[in-house]
């Protein structure tokens, strides 16, 4: 059993640049079939994204992005969001 890291590592990347990189307690993403929430210790996953708000919560702070299409990957508490349309809100 791998001990989960203290926090999630999150990166939001578009073809042109890395839009966000940082730690988080929770990520809520607009998956193709509805919202998906990710906490640390999540099983490895690749999920297609629909469009909507991507929320990254750390403590009481929250970053919000709009994404359309692309996908999200979770491996070992590292969350990677790749989307051709991703903008900070």
């Amino acid at each position: 059993m791998i001990m989960p890291a203290e926090r999630l590592r999150v990166a939001v990347i578009s073809p042109e640049r890395t839009i966000y990189e940082g730690d988080a307690d929770m990520v809520v993403a607009p998956a193709w079939d509805g919202q998906v929430g990710i906490l640390r210790g999540h099983a490895p996953m690749v999920v297609l994204l629909g469009h909507g708000d991507l929320r990254i919560r750390l403590g009481s702070a929250e970053e919000q992005f709009f994404v359309a299409g692309g996908f999200l990957q979770v491996v070992d508490d590292v969350v990677t969001v790749l989307s051709e349309r991703a903008e900070a809100e």
Binding site: P15, E16, T18, D33, A43, P44, L48, F71, E84
Partner: protein, 289 residues
């Protein structure tokens, strides 16, 4: 007198030329910086994308994905040539055009019909002059290409490939190794050469895949193709600025050398003239005595 004046005029003209090339060099240097940043900023997306595709794709199953279809016999291919809208960048455009011509020739020798898609006035101009049919020519892509530009180039080609109107798509672009080294390259973007996953950190069988590996791949393979073209665009844009800076730097240096020689010649002519005038005065005075 006439000779010295002539040289002076040339000095002034070379000075003005040097001023212009110097300015162009500085403009290219600052654009190069930003273009290089864009090349580096584009890497994480490409890397992660290749990682995921490599992890999900089982090479034996490639026939399931239209973009991976390997035609038994290639009949028709598209060549997408990326060039600049502007010249004054040394052999930059010429090198790309030569690479593209070589590729087109090789394909035709193998009996493959080739359609040419060209970005940049320089490439379009050349092939139009050669009376080649240019299937599409784009001059609206600036020296700051966007992912949307790449999509607008890639999407029609992918659609034609899926309809089996094309059996292969090649991109001729300038690889940006450094500002000094920007060799032309040929990249086959279709059928997709599946990236290989090197690391074996956990099997894909343990992954939650939603909706399914097939659907995920069918959705993200087009991202991969667009991204390959996007990277070719940004690398070519950076290479163009690098090539222009190098060309303008050597033009500035050459103008400097030329000025040294001209100034020396001018001084010699001026001194000769003064010497001659003194000799004439001395001669005249001697005649009066």
């Amino acid at each position: 007198m006439a000779k010295a004046r002539e040289i002076r005029r040339r000095i002034r003209s070379v000075e003005k030329t040097r001023q212009i090339t110097k300015t162009m060099e500085m403009v290219a240097t600052s654009k190069l910086k930003r273009a290089t940043d864009r090349v580096y900023a584009a890497r994480p997306f490409a890397q992660r994308l290749a990682e995921v595709i490599g992890r999900l794709l089982e090479p034996e199953l490639r026939e399931r994905y239209p973009l991976l279809r390997q035609p038994e016999r290639s009949r028709r291919a598209a060549v997408l040539l990326l060039t600049a809208n502007r010249g004054l960048a040394g052999a930059f455009n010429t090198n790309l055009i030569r690479e593209a011509r070589g590729l087109v020739q090789r394909l035709r020798q193998d009996g493959i019909e080739v359609e040419l898609h060209i970005v940049g006035k320089k490439g379009i101009g050349f092939f139009r002059f050669q009376r080649e049919r240019v299937a599409s020519g784009r001059t609206d892509i600036t020296d700051r290409p966007t992912a949307d530009d790449a999509a607008s180039l890639a999407d029609p080609l992918m659609a034609a490939f899926e309809r089996r109107e094309l059996d292969a798509v090649y991109v001729v672009y300038a690889q940006f190794r450094s500002a000094m080294s920007t060799p032309p390259r040929v990249l086959r973007v279709l059928p997709v050469e599946a990236p290989k996953e090197k690391r074996h950190d956990g099997h894909v069988h343990n992954y939650i895949l939603s909706p399914s590996a097939d659907e995920i791949l069918n959705r993200i393979l087009p991202l991969y193709v667009r991204n390959s073209i996007y990277r070719a665009l940004v690398e070519t844009a950076a290479a163009e600025q690098g090539a222009r800076r190098t060309a303008m730097k050597s033009a500035t240096d050459n103008a400097g050398e030329m000025l040294d020689i001209l100034r020396r010649t001018y001084n010699r002519a001026r001194q000769a003239q003064i010497t001659q005038e003194i000799a004439e005065i001395v001669g005249g005075a001697a005649g009066l005595e």
